[in-house]
């Protein structure tokens, strides 16, 4: 079944970092349009995040799908909680829910993002 070792690594990552994006490629060089779109939203909001490139780690690529019961990449986590993929992050950004969520969870965003 699921590999507990990889689950442990995921749990550690989303515990040690307020905002984690499991993505294809890196924040600087996203290798998929869906991942790139989330990077763009997060940059726009002005929140610091850790990007985990699943393309360099097949174990994490499959592990994160089982972990969240979510079959696709990207996946965004805030304070250890799964928020969604690209469609959901985009919708939440457009309605302002993403910004509220970050604020409610006490995640710091840069001044530029406040407006």
């Amino acid at each position: 079944m699921s590999d507990p070792v990889v689950f442990d690594r995921i749990r550690q990552d989303i515990k040690d970092n307020d905002v984690v994006l499991y993505m294809k490629g890196t924040p600087v060089f996203p290798q998929c349009g869906f991942s790139a779109a989330v990077v763009q939203v997060l940059s726009h909001v002005g929140v610091k995040f850790k990007g985990v490139n699943v393309l360099t780690d097949p174990e994490v690529r499959e592990g994160i799908k089982a972990f969240a019961n979510w079959p696709t990449i990207p996946q965004l986590y805030v304070k250890g909680e799964f928020v969604g993929g690209c469609d959901i992050v985009r919708e939440m950004f457009e309605t302002g829910e993403l910004q509220s969520l970050l604020k409610d969870k006490g995640v710091q965003v840069t001044a530029a993002a406040a407006q």
Binding site: Q31, F34, W70, T72, G84, I88
Partner: protein, 90 residues
């Protein structure tokens, strides 16, 4: 059109949507990882269904993932979703 048809049929059966559009966007991803020469790998689903009323965004998607589990395990590499309850606007 085989994959698109089965996506449509399964979504209609599971969600009785008031509005359903299944678009094959594979041509826009030709040559990308996960693309197959015959297409039918990248889809966009836009759906309005009463089944989504009072259901969170994540759970709406999970229900669609469940209904399309065979497709996601098989030919479908990417699936963009816009899922609304009636009155939420498309």
């Amino acid at each position: 059109m085989k994959v698109a048809q089965s996506i449509r049929a399964k979504l209609e059966a599971a969600f009785q949507p008031q509005h359903l559009v299944v678009e094959d966007e594979s041509h826009r991803h030709a040559g990308h990882a996960g693309a197959r020469p015959e297409g039918e790998t990248h889809f966009r689903v836009t759906m309005v269904s009463p089944a989504f009323a009072g259901v969170s965004r994540v759970d709406r998607s999970r229900r669609v993932h469940e209904a399309l589990a065979d497709e996601l395990k098989g030919p479908v590499h990417a699936l963009a979703l816009s899922l609304k309850a009636p009155g939420e606007g498309v």
